[in-house]
Amino acid sequence: MKLSCLQENLAKGLSIVGRAVATRSTLPVLSNILLATDESRLKLSATNLEISVNCWVGANVTEEGAITVPARLLTDFVNSLPPERIDLSLIARTQTLNLRCGRYEANIKGIDAQEFPIILVPEEDKASQFATADLAKMIDRVVFAAATDESRPVLTGVHTELTPQGVTFAAADSYRLSVVSSPIPKAPAERISIIIPARALQELRRISGEAESVTMLVSSARNQVFFRMPEVELISQLVEGTFPDYRQIIPTTYNTRMVATTADLLQALRMAAIFARDAANIVRLQILPNEGGMGRLIVSATSAEHGDNVSELDVTVEGQPIEIAFNVRYLLDALEVIDTAQVALETRDPTSPGVIKPVGGQDFVHIIMPMHIAR
């Protein structure tokens, strides 16, 4: 293998595949990045067996070949090189990769490319297509709600349903649920329902920045999903199991509905969060209707040791007065991904889920279970 490429391009390619490198694996080759010539490009691959990323970098290839080298070592070395041409050549006998850039040179000992896992890419027929900007926004609205602990593995994934009408993503931990839907430029003819690891979608969000659109393919065995962009490919295992029937959880009625200015509510909650830090993050919302659909929202947080904070907002209220407590972090997580000027909170009673919706957007709904308070 013999090729040359630009330092900037190689560094960028390495940062794209870098997060897919296994950090704690018993298989040494998984800590490596696969470098392989692919026609007139250099293909970089990394995998932790759950998520795999391929990235192509423009190169001048004079001799075909492939090698895997330790990801950290290669990335750190390339990042510290000047933005010039790098010549790479493989010393096949010792499986050593030689890199030269100006007056700098390094030899990195590798592992035979044959040992690197092969990831098969399926046919294109069931492809869906997303506009990257829309996809990024949808991912932002659901991934934070996915569970981070493994006690219920299905909840670490994002339930993804593709229909001819578009896509619906849903994620939940035991305390909150986020559901976002959107039509997409190209939808599959049949309904597909899978669970994608939240981590894979987060990674996709990070590396899809420059592509205008993303093509998604689901393997016919329904165990892998592929995201393809012009220079980058992400392949993820799917989460096995049955996602809870979340549609049943979304309340269809309410006794109180409040509409607030998103920015004002965010500000009041951020303030309350400071005081709630030492008090299990509890924030109390008192929704008080006045005449004519108007009303007040009183946001308060109390720390037994450090003091309290109260904010009052003018809001519109429909229905009964209510006092309900939430984990303020959950409220903030949800409000931070709402981009409409106004936001609605609907609920039935202090122990029923709070439903948060952007006002004027039908595509996003977020459910948060309240906190039970002792008094």
């Binding site: 959880i249 299990a280 040791e305 279970m369 039970h372 002792a374």
Partner: protein, 395 residues
């Protein structure tokens, strides 16, 4: 309504052990003496009289080193019983002034005398009263610091030693602290001190003049806390005021018990009682702890942090039972079984579960049970598996 002006008094007995020794043996008065380990051994100075301190002898210094500084030094063994007796007498005086006493060691305490003016006069008068009573009734020298918070009161007390009374009026905390070396601040040890000095921060005033953001960048969260402290601000309450941090229950068995079912029932019963007590106090717990004592008095405690705070017996019992399963080997007999809930949050709450509708039903059930117990007494209602438990206790 405006908050009342807060007044905290820090009380610290001067060279406590050494002073008690002088009291026990008046001939020693005024002589360099220390209380500590025997000089041949690896003993250190526990307390040094002021006469000894004049030689540069300090607490925690090896006795051998102290003897090099002052060859005439009198080294006395501990008389802990005498110290404990005097300490209790002093604390009793403090408790007569106010119930808000936080004893931090055998010879040190904080008093919150906020609002005590009507009863005892202004804070400085209260200070003089304490000093006079400790001298007259226990015959011991004591120093006091009086300020609007614990941090400043303690530093004021240290500065006035021995037999001092230093009063820092409200609003002058920062200027009072400003000229002092940074090591006077609680939390500034050798390492942080050296680090701050490298930044050109010599005095507490230097530290207060820095901007919080830079301190936070360099020292992390501690940077912000140090800055607040350097300004003489401290909102920490007197611990004597605070709610208890755990509630516990123990059962000592009339005969050592090894029957898993009986032990399991004991745990369930205690879970019920503790949960009811939590709800009664409007508190939730974040920890569950079990205590096992074996016939040979060997005792272990094991605890687990709950994923969510709770006041529900079922949750407490589930974690207690899991801990018990993990640490009790079948066949082992127990002399005592204890259960405690800790990490208590006042008026706290816990997160309801999205997928568990049972949560709500459980809360309603427990509320009903509590109401029945409140009206008809704790024995009025119990779980079927516990029926007979309470009755048997009286057998």
């Amino acid at each position: 309504m405006a908050e009342p002006q807060r007044w905290i008094i820090h009380v610290d007995l001067d060279a406590f052990f050494a002073s008690v020794e002088e009291l026990l043996n008046p001939e020693l008065r005024g002589k360099p003496l220390v209380v500590g380990g025997a000089p041949g051994s690896r003993g250190v100075v526990a307390s040094a009289s002021y006469a000894a301190r004049a030689y540069g002898i300090r607490s925690a210094m090896p006795v051998a080193q102290a003897l090099r500084l002052c060859p005439d030094l009198i080294v006395l063994p501990h008389h802990f019983e005498e110290y404990a007796k005097r300490s209790a007498a002093v604390m009793a005086i403090l408790h007569e002034i106010t119930p808000a006493v936080e004893q931090i060691s055998i010879d040190e305490a904080f008093l919150d005398v906020t609002g005590c003016e009507r009863l005892w006069g202004p804070p400085v008068e209260i200070g003089r009263l304490i000093q006079r009573r400790v001298r007259d009734e226990v015959s011991l020298p004591v120093s006091l610091g009086i300020a609007s918070n614990k941090l400043v009161a303690k530093i004021a007390c240290d500065l006035g030693k021995p037999q001092g009374l230093v009063f820092v009026p409200t609003g002058t905390e920062a200027s009072f602290l400003a000229p002092l070396p940074i090591e006077r601040l609680w939390g500034v040890g050798k390492v942080t001190g050296a680090r701050l000095r490298r930044l050109g921060i010599q005095t507490i005033g230097d530290l207060a003049a820095w901007d919080v953001e830079s301190l936070e960048r360099m020292l992390g969260k501690a940077g912000r806390a140090l800055h607040t402290a350097a300004l003489g601000q401290d909102a920490s309450p007197i611990a004597g005021h605070r709610e208890r941090h755990s509630i516990s229950q123990e059962r000592t068995f009339a005969q050592d018990l090894g029957d898993p079912e009986a032990l399991g029932r004991t745990l369930l019963g205690m879970s019920e009682d503790l949960a009811a007590r939590l709800r009664e106090r409007h508190m939730v717990a974040q920890e569950v702890r079990i205590k096992l004592r074996y016939p040979d008095f060997r005792t272990i405690t094991r605890q687990v942090k709950l994923p969510q705070p709770t006041d529900q017996a079922q949750v407490i019992h589930a974690h207690a039972a899991a801990l018990f399963q993990k640490h009790w080997r079948p066949g082992e007999r127990l002399r005592l079984l204890g259960l405690a809930v800790g990490g208590l949050l006042e008026g706290g709450g816990y997160q309801l579960d999205l997928f568990a509708d049972v949560d709500k039903r459980r809360i309603r059930l427990n509320r009903a049970l509590d109401e029945i117990r409140r009206r008809f007494g704790p024995e009025a209602i119990t779980r079927a598996s516990l029926a007979g438990r309470r009755g048997r206790r009286g057998d």
